[in-house]
Structures are given as C-alpha cells and as structure tokens.
Symmetry: C2
Subunit: 406 residues, 2 copies
C-alpha cells in the first residue's frame, strides 16, 4: 500500500460445517473447499467450524502455494474452529473469548464446549494494519422462544467493544463470519451501530447469488428443511462487514454467494453458502467513520433495546441462581439430617435400625449428587449474573456518552 | 491536554486484600483506604482484590466528591476484584479474561474462581486516550516448585498482547497492579519487553518507601512471615508500569510506597504496600517506543525462555489429559462390567446373587463419581492443552517476526 494508493481485496468467508463423525461427507467437502480456494486465489480466506486439526493441516498443506500464511485459533474443549488463510503475512494474532457462551448442561446444543471466540489477525505489513476477526456467535435454536438471546447480545456487545478497542490504529477493519443473526436482529444492529461496520451485501455495487443474499437456503441439500419452513427463501446469517478507519475508503465492488452447490460439483461446500466479496480500498480524504455520528440517535435506541433484552436475561439468570442455590441448601440439609440419624443409631439412641441400609445409603449418594450438581450450577449462574450485570453497566455507560454528546 | 502540553498525573495502586470473612480487619482497612484516597486526591486509583460489592459501593459513596468517575469490573464467581476511581471521565471499559487461570480443583488456592482478568479504561477525553489495565496474575504459591509458572506466563503473554493491540492509538499506557512476579522473573521481562512498558520504580527520579521498592514486607503485620523467610527485605510484586506511545513522553518524577502501616494509623492498609507514582506527561517530539527496537535481541531471548517454560507446562498438561482420560475409561469399563454382572443375575444366568447388594451399589456409585470427575478433569486439561499450544504458537510467530527484522 505504501506506493500504490489503491488495493483490490478479494475475501472469502464460509462456515465449513466440518464436525468429525457428525457432518455429512465432510472429507469430500473439505477437499472441494481446498480445490475451490486454490483455483480462485482469494486474498483472504476466513473459515469457521473447521473443528478437526487434521482438516486444518490438510487445507494448510494444500493451500501452501497460493496462501503462504495461515493461522488456526485454539480454544475451548474442541477448539474454536476458526482459521484464516492469507496471501499477506500474518504478523500477529489475538484471541478474545466471549464471557458467556450458553450452558454446559445443554449438551444437545454444545455451544458451551466450542469456546466461541473472535480471532484478530493484523495483516498487510505494518502500515495498513487490518484486524480481521472471523467468528461465530451463539447459535439460535428457536426463534420464537429464544432463551439464548441475552447471551448472544452479550457476545455481540463484546465483539463490538473488542473491534472498537483493537481497531483504533487500523486503516481497514474486516469482519467475516456466521453471526447467527438475521440482518434486522437487534444484535446485528447493535454490532453495526456501535462499530460503524458496513454490510457488504447492502453496499455492494454488483450482487450475484441466492435471493436476498441468503446463506442458509432450502436448495442446499444439507440444510435442515424444517428449520427453514418459516423462511421459504432461506435466511442470511453469514456476513462480510467492513469499515475504513483512518485516511482510507472501502467500497464493495462485488458480492457473490454460492447457490446450493459448489461451483463445478454436485454437492454443496457446506450447509451454509460461501460469501465472497471484492473490496476496493483507496487511500484518500476523510474516512467513512464520520457516518457514525449522524446515526447516533438511532444507535441510542438500538443500545436501549439490547439493554432491555440483557435485563430480561439477567432476571432469568438471577432466578436460576436462586433456585439452584436453594436446591443445594436442601440437599445439604437432607445430608445433615441423615448424618444425625446415622449418628443417633450408632450412639444407640434409637432402639433399632430405623431404615433399611441400602435405601439409606442410596439416598445419601443421591443427596451428594444433587448437592454437587446444584452447587456447580449455582456457581455457573453466578458467573452468568456477573457478566450480564457487567454488560448492562457498559451499555448504560455507552448510552450516557451517546446522550451527553452535543 | 488540548491546550496544555504537560500534565502531572498522580497514580495510586493497591492490592486491598478485602476478602469477606477471611481478611483481617477488612472493614477498618477499607475505611482507612477511603480516608487516605480522599485526603491525598490522586488522579487515578487502581485497586485490586475488592471482592465485596458492598466495599466497592462504600468506597464509591465516600469518594464521589473527589473521584467522580469509577468502575468495578465483574467476572468469575466472586468477581474480578478490580476497580478504578478517577478524576477524569471513564468513557468506556473493556474486560479481558485470561484463558488459563489455575485449576478448579485447587480449592485451597482459589484462583480459578476469581476470574482473573485485565480491565481497560480509556480516560482523558478523546485526545489523550489512556487505557489503564489494572490486574493481577495468577498467584505464586511455591517459588521452588512452581506448578503455575506456565499459566502465569500464558497470562503475562496475553496481557502483553492485549496491551499491544488495544493501545495502538493511545498516547499513554499505564499498567498498575499486583503482578505476582518478582522484577527479574521471566514473566515480567516478557511483559516489559513485548510491550515496551517501563518500570516506575527503576525510572523514578525520587523514591521514598520500603527498601528496593518491596511491596510485601515483614514489617507489615498482615504478611505471612514464613512466606517471606527467604526474602528478609521483602519482595516487590506490585508495579506501576507506563509508556508513551505517540507524540508524548512520560517521566516518573516520584515513586512512593507505604511502609508497613497506613499513614497516620497503626495498622497497614492491606497485606501489600500501596504504590504511588507521580508521572509527568509531556507532548513533544518522538515517543519512547523506539527504545523497543534496540532491545530486540534481548527480547528474543526472553520470548525463547518463556516459550520453553510454556512447553514444559504443555507436556505436563498433556500427561494429565492422558491420565484423566485413562481413569475415565477405566471407570466406564468397571460400570459396564457391573452392568453385565447385574444383567446376568437378573437373567438368571448366575445361580445365586454373587455380590452383597450394598457393596455392589456403593461400587457403582463410586464408579459413576470417578467417571464424572475424570471426564470433567479431562475436558479441563484438554482446554489447557489447547490454550498452551495456542500461546506457544503465538510466541513462535513473534520470534519469527523478531528474527526476520533487519
């Protein structure tokens, strides 16, 4: 960028759905993804849900020639699933883990085990630093009764804060990933409003792909058709967002999505469609950051809406903390009662053994189990309450700053 | 700062040791701390280990007049214990939680429950942004056989990375806190080398306080004397570090510590001594950041040393992951064996009941307990392995960048 004031940047983003033993035709699809990436020669590739280290190593070996730089972010029990391939040197990385990420006992959803996080990759030498968080927010399992909404909002807020604080000296910020939110959702509006990021789909000069830019579509043979019943066209939850921070401008020249199958193959790359953007970065005049100020009134409304939802989540978490605490106390009382009864029998206060030994010890084991479980859950919900309170407080601070500005 | 090119900044830092029910004479000391802060009128106060929300609220109420802005960071089961009081507006905050923080089963050390983290507080309006992380690294319990060293190094590295990535647009960076490391430890050298932060104690023009700047001293009646036996003068583990990033310079005019008792009282403020620095910030010429380059060769050595220690921790974590996994498999096998035996009895294959019922069910409960515990520990050590691998990889990347520079 030093000599040339313009740069064309081709970005690829895909949720790869590469879960060992669970994802259909995984190895075949990972191969297809590698072939396509090698053929197309993007500048920057952001992949999510690459859960197997073997798949990452295979991709890395295959793509070494055209993408000499790569990084895989590690976190959680099975990893973050995030990896980045780049034509430009990756000089440094930073991983930020969300403070809340679902519940460990919701095994069927599994989000808690994934260690969801945002990876930051500054690239393009030292002058045009470009942090490129590629990540995925907590999945939405039921749109009507969405118990995870407060967690997703905390994550959207933390992501926005992370971008704001790490991108101050950057020229261009690029965020790509499966955000698990529809374009009109409060979380997306919060993220976009608070960071000033622009949506490549709405800004693109040319668009080619699924109707409305959808990335989960019924024509993809791997999508769960029942989940898409309320949305006959599909839904858009994978995004490429961007902004210019300092003396640069960014324009999205073209946005493309795959359309149900991989180019030149009869199966899709994943259950999600890939999003591909061609961005035109130019060094000139004032940056687009100023657009943020004009929208600040609307932003205050979005932050207020998000804060209300976080408050609802906080109340639910407080109720759960209370009920698990009460259960732990009850289990402890039962144990104490049993101990007193057992001691009484031992001391010969009771004339004869009042309970059958087997059921007595089974009950004691049950009480210990309930005590341990309830205590664990109580600790977990205590952390949840703290984090929701912290986010609520930060949002209140943000609202005060927004309102006090002239 | 807009009009005036110089600023004198008085910073106070203290590990308050305010743990409910555990810390001696807590309420009296919190009152003393509040009195001293109100009397002295610092510009910025960084407190750690304020674990009780009540203590924070009391301090906040007392200090409202002279420190109109404050923030308490929330995280972990019992909170982060971090709070900041400031004369300058606190416009925004960000909390970063370390990925590793001890072991949940080391109840006697308790670090895992504290959610140790670094809080970022940009202050001084929008021109002179000053992120002020105030935090505390994993405590050191045994200097000779320090099992936590790898965790502490991961935290030191994450803290350094966090500061580097969030401070790029800042003019002055200030880090205050109990770092749980001696000045010559590899973690401190890594943190200082990788961020370019300077130590107020070694840079101060005037110093007044305990010999060698020690902050855990035998003359403080709350310190554990046996822990300080190898260090007759005490140890220095509380720091104020700073650097100027852009067109500013920072100089430490004066550094003071309390000396075993609170000023004008007969008990200390805490088991740690308070550190108080007077910094002189000036807008001019080139920043001190350049000093980093000259020390890069030494820095590579420090990063290599830290990487070796992280490697040692990684091997230990891998061993523990393996042994807990093996134990879980053994418990599962025992359960299966019992199930087969029970089914055999039920199906009438065995002529008579081969085991006494009570010990049979007790054994089953024991196996379930061991299975759950070992699985939990296995998951925990899996996360630990991932995070240590991730840090090791980042350090390798840093070494490559350091070596490739001309």
């Amino acid at each position: 960028m030093e000599g040339d004031p313009t740069l064309q940047l081709r970005v690829f983003d895909l949720n790869c759905w590469a879960i060992r033993y669970l994802s259909k035709r995984r190895q075949e699809r990972v191969q297809l993804i590698g072939d396509m990436l090698r053929r197309e020669g993007f500048d920057l590739v952001l992949l999510q849900e690459v859960w197997s280290e073997q798949d990452y190593s295979d991709l890395k070996a295959k793509l070494r020639g055209c993408y000499p730089f790569s990084h895989c972010f590690r976190s959680g029990v099975i990893g973050s699933g995030l990896c980045v391939f780049s034509k430009f040197p990756i000089l440094d990385t930073l991983l930020y883990q969300y403070s809340l990420n679902g519940y460990p006992y919701m095994l069927q959803h599994g989000d808690w085990f994934c260690g969801k996080s945002v990876g930051l990759v500054p690239a393009w030498g030292s002058r045009l630093l470009c942090p490129t968080p590629s990540r995925q927010l907590h999945a939405e399992y039921c749109r009507e009764k969405d118990a995870y909404l407060p967690h997703r909002l905390v994550q959207a807020w933390e992501l926005a804060q992370f971008i704001r604080h790490t991108s101050k000296a950057a020229d261009v910020v690029l965020l790509g990933g499966d955000l698990n939110m529809h374009p009109e959702d409060v979380g997306i509006r919060l993220l976009r409003g608070w960071t000033g990021l622009r949506d490549a789909f709405t800004e693109a000069t040319r668009f080619e792909g699924c109707k409305d830019g959808c990335t989960l579509v019924p024509s993809n043979c791997f999508t769960v058709k029942t989940e898409l019943l309320p949305f006959p066209l599909g839904i858009r939850i994978d995004y490429i967002l961007y902004k210019a921070v300092s003396r640069f401008t960014v324009k999205c020249e073209e946005l493309k999505t795959t359309m149900g199958t991989a180019p030149g193959a009869d199966i899709p790359l994943s259950d999600h469609e890939a999003v591909m953007a061609t961005l035109h970065i130019q060094r000139q005049g004032r940056a687009a950051g100023a657009a943020l100020d004009t929208a600040e009134l609307a932003l205050a409304d979005v932050v207020t809406e998000a804060r209300t939802e976080v408050d609802v989540g906080l109340q639910a978490a407080q109720r759960q903390r209370y009920s698990t605490g009460r259960m732990a106390v009850l289990a402890l009382l039962l144990l104490l009662l049993q101990a007193v009864a057992a001691l009484g029998t031992l001391a010969g206060l009771a004339a004869e053994q009042p309970f059958p030994k087997l059921s007595f010890s089974l009950l004691a084991f049950l009480a210990v189990g309930v005590l341990l479980l309830a205590t664990g859950l109580h600790l977990f919900h205590t952390i949840e309450v703290k984090m929701l309170q912290g986010t609520e407080e930060q949002m209140r601070m943000a609202l005060r700053v927004l309102r006090e500005r002239p």
